[in-house]
Amino acid sequence: MKLAYYPGCVAQASGKELDMATRWVCRSLGIELAEFPKFSCCGSGFSDEANEVLTVALNVRNLALAEAAGLDLLTVCSTCTGMLSLANLRYQDPKVKERVDSALAPLGIHYRGTVKVKHLLRVLTEDVGVAQVRARVVRPLEGLKVGAFYGCHLLRPADELNWESAEEPHAFEDLLSAVGATPVYYRGRVMCCGFPIQFVKPDTASRIAAHQIDDAKAHGADAMATPCPLCHISLDAYQNQAEKVAGHALDMPVFHLPQVVGLALGASPEELGLGRHLVPTAPALSKVGSGARAGR
């Protein structure tokens, strides 16, 4: 299987561990990643609030690059997935299409709308398949209770994304079970991490993050795992702020999705960049029944 790899901005910068883990897991499962140094930022749900048509045009350019290579797009961020999927959809509106084409046609960019945007979670559960992932596990994460945290733009609006149930998704939990971990079900798993207003009203953002972490904890989670690096910023890098607002310690390790899979497939904590997290992952790794060594 070959896919056009769209790492997104964060995985190329502060969330580099996500890129490391993605490449490790894809190599291990035989997913070939085609590189596109011309890909631009998806806009992250912010730039369209200033100019939607511009943002759609930039993303249609990204989609057209993959289309020209005959590949579907692999994303590793819930927000990138949402923005690129919505570009596919908005481009079908004749008024939007006319304006986007007016900017792209002079550049020789003609998008036919054939590219599917697939998050790694979808590729692992649908294209590779949960059974195939399970068969490749060398170090089952037995004893580790993990609260999946989906990230809004992977699920909603469900009628536009056309994949998982927005209210009762199960792909992530299926994957966690496949690698031997115990999925934890809690209301917060489909809620918002607070990230979008981190720079608008930090205390409110942190209060929202604290709600979800507390909820996962109350349901017994040793760790959380997310398919979105923006959620990871909110839940891990800003967890100290959430603790301040909540008034108590949270101490919740937060994994990127491919890190959880990579651990079970035999990657070392170093190969997955676990030492780059702000909240140490070692306490969670020590829960794993056999063989797994702790990261720092």
């Binding site: 901005c9 910068a13 992250s44 730039s47 369209d48 609030e49 609006p157 918002c192 929202i208």
Partner: protein, 323 residues
């Protein structure tokens, strides 16, 4: 011929703040046809088993918006939710009051904050003197003008969105999805002269607290799609006022940021959104993060094909191009 029934188990939230120390869940078991609406079941419980159960309802036809509640943790109109699928999936039906509103008794919540936020957006036409009301007639709109409202006139003010909204939960300043969807309806109304003023008034501690998580759009029983209209309001607010609030500065800053290198320059965005004072405020957190993630100090690479990106900006980001 008698209709086939199923054994339906209801666990219903019961709480009278005046008398009870804490809420409890009371179990009722009834034999009912699977297509029975939840509301019909609740009224049967009240009529035949327990007259003390308090709930709010009126039309039983998904029009009045009174019977919104949580059915197996999801915001639903009780009158249009059948028990069969709920039982098939969860084995029982847990009934709870709406979230983000204080419980008055059992399933009845205090609606005052919801309506206060509705009042905040001035939910009435501020007639534009250039379009005076024709004497003795209604003020008609064209079909094209009505289409501008999109789905917003469908709203029945059931508060399902208000109940589902994490911004409402975390911050009483946020007006909530329903109020903002209604605001959109007035902002695009060609007979209304409040357009700019409405957009300016709603920004401080209001519009930009929306997380665009789309939980409201998912919760809405009438497909009003509040989160998408709130996005539209943000773009209109930027067109009227530019980047003046933290939220609009962040949106405009983000858009301009990508123009430099094609990918996001995280450090620069902090400056664009928060200014120098903001950068100083963020400094301790920045130092906290940089211990593990030194990349945030470095400007990112420039993508290949920046000439194309620049041309797209030139074509679509001219001031006169904005809506």
């Amino acid at each position: 011929m008698t209709e086939a029934t199923v054994k339906a188990t209801f666990d219903i939230y019961r709480f009278d703040p005046g008398h009870d120390r804490a809420p409890r869940y009371q179990r009722y078991t009834l034999d009912l046809p699977p297509h029975t609406p939840v509301l019909t079941a609740l009224l049967k419980i009240r009529a035949e088993v327990d007259p003390s159960l308090a709930l709010r309802y009126s039309c039983r036809s998904a029009i009045c918006g009174s019977c919104a509640m949580q059915v197996n943790s999801k915001s639903r109109l009780a009158c249009e939710t059948q028990i069969g699928p709920e039982l098939a999936r969860d084995g029982r039906i847990v009934i709870e009051p709406m979230r983000n509103q204080a419980v008055l008794r059992d399933l009845v919540v205090e609606q005052e904050p919801f309506w206060r936020n509705y009042d905040r957006i001035r939910p009435h036409l501020i007639l534009d003197p250039r379009h005076p009301m024709p004497e003795g007639r209604e003020n008609p709109m064209t079909t094209e003008e009505v289409e501008q409202f999109k789905e917003t006139p469908r709203c029945i003010a059931c508060a399902a969105c208000f109940s589902a909204c994490p911004a409402v939960e975390a911050d009483p300043a946020f007006p909530g999805p329903m109020a903002l969807a209604k605001l959109y309806r007035f902002v695009v109304d060609p007979r209304d002269q409040g357009h700019q003023d409405r957009l300016m008034r709603i920004q401080p501690d209001g519009l930009w607290l929306c997380l665009r998580c789309h939980l409201c759009t998912e919760a809405c029983p009438k497909d009003v799609r509040p989160s998408e209209r709130i996005r539209d309001l943000k773009e209109m607010a930027v067109a009227v006022q530019g980047g003046t609030e933290h939220g609009s500065k962040h949106a405009v800053g983000f858009k301009d940021n990508i123009r430099d290198r094609g990918v996001l320059n995280e450090m620069k965005l902090v400056r664009q959104t928060s200014g120098l004072v903001g950068v100083l405020e963020q400094l301790p957190q920045g130092l906290h993060i940089v211990r593990k993630k030194r990349e945030i100090l470095r400007a990112p690479h420039r993508i290949e094909g920046m000439d194309e990106v620049e041309k797209i900006y030139e074509a679509l980001d001219r001031p006169e191009e904005k809506p």
